[in-house]
């Protein structure tokens, strides 16, 4: 709680940032894409372009996602951050007329390799959506569905164990353990979203993509999810799209700012929020547009 307050303070200060910060940034120029030496990025994209029919939604995005950290994608509506997120687990495949070019790699493996099995990819890269979308099934079945289709449990006991650990990790076990047979849609919004997170981690993914996971939730539920994200960071690589800059500042270690389909700037969250290199980033985080 204290930590969150501190981060919020940090963000509040951002708004009052003056030009001295800018000078400091300019003096301290680093190449935009530079993985830390000795640390391979979990995911890496180079020259990613996305087209919806004739319209180009993303332009030459180069971005590295570090392992076991939270990367926040921020930017005004329609800037392509969700589009980028959906490229990572090839969710865009199911959209008609969507075309992706460029190179996206997961542990050095090309995600868009025609020989790669999309199902296995999506099992490795889980996803949590903007609106909580539990299956209209029991809480138990919501969690068990993924492990079941991937043959992760050989008997009921193993499945029970997966369900329990997933719910525990998502911080929902205590609330849900007595009502596992009840429909997941009967939970509150925040619980549903944690159920969706539990469902995503049940298949033991390496990366979790979160597309504005808190935008439909109240502040208390949001705080719980943010805490959860912070805990999950130990085991998973997390990429989160958010409209809330405070949230980005609170939960992420890396931040990438998108604007009009272009990745304007990315780097350590603290640096982005205290000393953005680009004017557009500065304008956005100080609330001048977006």
């Amino acid at each position: 709680m204290a930590r969150a307050a501190h981060k919020a303070q940090l963000t509040a200060d951002d708004g009052k940032m003056d030009t001295s910060g800018m000078v400091l940034t300019n003096a301290n120029v680093k190449p935009a894409v530079a993985p830390r030496p000795g640390e391979e990025p979990k995911m890496m994209s180079r020259q990613v372009n996305v087209f919806y029919g004739q319209k180009q939604a993303l332009f030459n995005v180069d971005l590295d996602i570090p392992s076991r950290q939270v990367t926040a994608l921020i930017g005004p509506s329609g800037c392509g951050k969700s589009t980028y997120l959906r490229c990572l687990n090839r969710m865009n495949d199911v959209i008609d007329g969507c075309r992706v070019t460029g190179d996206i790699r997961l542990d050095g493996e090309n995600v868009y390799d025609p020989k790669l099995d999309v199902v296995m990819l999506r099992a490795r890269i889980g996803m949590v959506f903007q609106k909580p979308n539990p299956f209209p099934k029991s809480i138990y079945d919501n969690i068990a569905y993924g492990p079941r289709i991937h043959g992760m449990a050989h008997d009921k006991a193993e499945m029970d164990e997966i369900v329990q650990t997933s719910l525990e990790r998502a911080g929902l076990w205590n609330e849900a353990k007595d009502r596992l047979a009840q429909p997941g849609t009967g939970l509150s919004g925040g619980q549903q979203q944690r159920l969706c997170i539990a469902r995503a981690i049940a298949v033991s993914p390496e990366v979790i993509l979160m597309d504005e996971p808190c935008s439909a939730l109240d502040p208390i539920a949001t705080a719980r999810i943010e805490e959860l994200i912070d805990e999950l960071r130990e085991n998973y690589t997390i990429i989160i799209v958010t409209h809330s800059m405070q949230q980005a500042a609170r939960v992420s270690q890396k931040t990438a700012f998108f604007h009009l389909g272009v990745l304007v700037e990315w780097g350590d969250t603290e640096q982005i929020f205290t000393a953005p290199r680009d004017e557009r980033t500065q304008g956005y985080i100080t609330g001048r547009f977006g």
């Binding site: 199911v94 296995m120 990819l121 999506r122 959506f129 539990p134 299956f135 469902r199 995503a200």
Partner: protein, 440 residues
Amino acid sequence: MTDVALIGSASETGVKLRRPDLSEDRIRRRYAAERRFRLYGMLAIGFAVFMLGFLAVTVVLQGYTAFWQTRIVLDVNIDPAEVDPQNTRLPESLWQGNYQAVVREALRSLFPEVESRGDRRALNDFLSNAAGDAVRRMVMENPALVGTTQRVEVLAADEIDMLAKGRIDRDVPATDRPIDDQQLGWFDKLEAEGRIVSSFNLDFFTTGDSREPEQAGVGGALVGSLLTILTAIILSLPISVAAAIYLEEFAPKNRITDIIEININNLAAVPSIVFGLLGLAVLLGFFGLPRGAPLVGGMVLSLMTLPTIIIATRAALKAVPPSIREAAYGVGASKQQVVMHHVLPLAMPGIMTGAIIGTARAMGESAAVLMIGMVAFIVDIPTSITDPATVLPVQIFLWADAPERAFVERTSAGIMVMLVFLVLMNAAAVVIRRRFERRW
């Protein structure tokens, strides 16, 4: 504060500030418009209810009497000379006995004054030509009855049935009546003796068609309809659901699928007689399937219901929220798993509704099955889908066409049976639908 400033600046620049018109008159007109709109809706519903009620009342009033059948109570002397001339008492021999003659004799014994040939024929007209069947049935069950006198309720002829039910007006001149004054007198005598009885007409549901109204039943058509509809559902449901799923979920969106889609939609509007002709030419003409069989009728009707179910299924699939698909894709379900595990179960109630609508339409269809020969006069109740049969709407059509007064009530009764059959089928479909819904 802001308002004042705005108005000030507006008057200064000379631009007229536009504000909502809050006058009483406007509000009153809005309320009146809303009331009118609601009234139109109520009028429409009222009209629909009135028409339906009128239809139902007419049909019931016309037809309810068909569920009762007039019989004449006679003391029949089962004369061995008539029923078993060879005196063998073997079932084959007893079956062939002339029971009609015994019954006629019993009736004649009540009217000793009837002598002339013409009068005797007029008296015989009281009896259905199946009147002897009741006696035959008794004798077949118990051959020992031969030679004894039994009190039997025998089937009355349709005119007597009509007279007993008050459907023949005694006030019209005798020449315009199917029953003359002499017969009226006999009838009154029989009635006074308590020999005219009316009982529930179970035979109506168990027998097939007949030229004689009092012997005609919907049993054959009912079974025919059931077999036909079952064939149609078994054929059309899996085919149309599979087609709809492929078109909606898997097929690429290109020119060919567009053309297929347009044609399916057009198919829903094709007149049923065309499907009937298609069945006649292809199924009967080319493949040589049996004429007038429920198998062929079901195949033709399944063609007719295909587009309805396909369109309904596609609409139901489209209505499944994309968030559910995304959720399933997100945990790594394959396309087929997404469809089979999530989309299809959620779309099931909608699919069932489409199937109900399609089947209900097929159920009431007559033109298509006329063409493939299900209009023939069929007395036997079909026992398999390859037996010649007829269906309820065609049976109703045939009866409506018949000249006898007694077929009028049977036509209405047939309509009632069909409506009940439809309601039962729909209820069954609703129950199935509920079950699918509850699983979630």
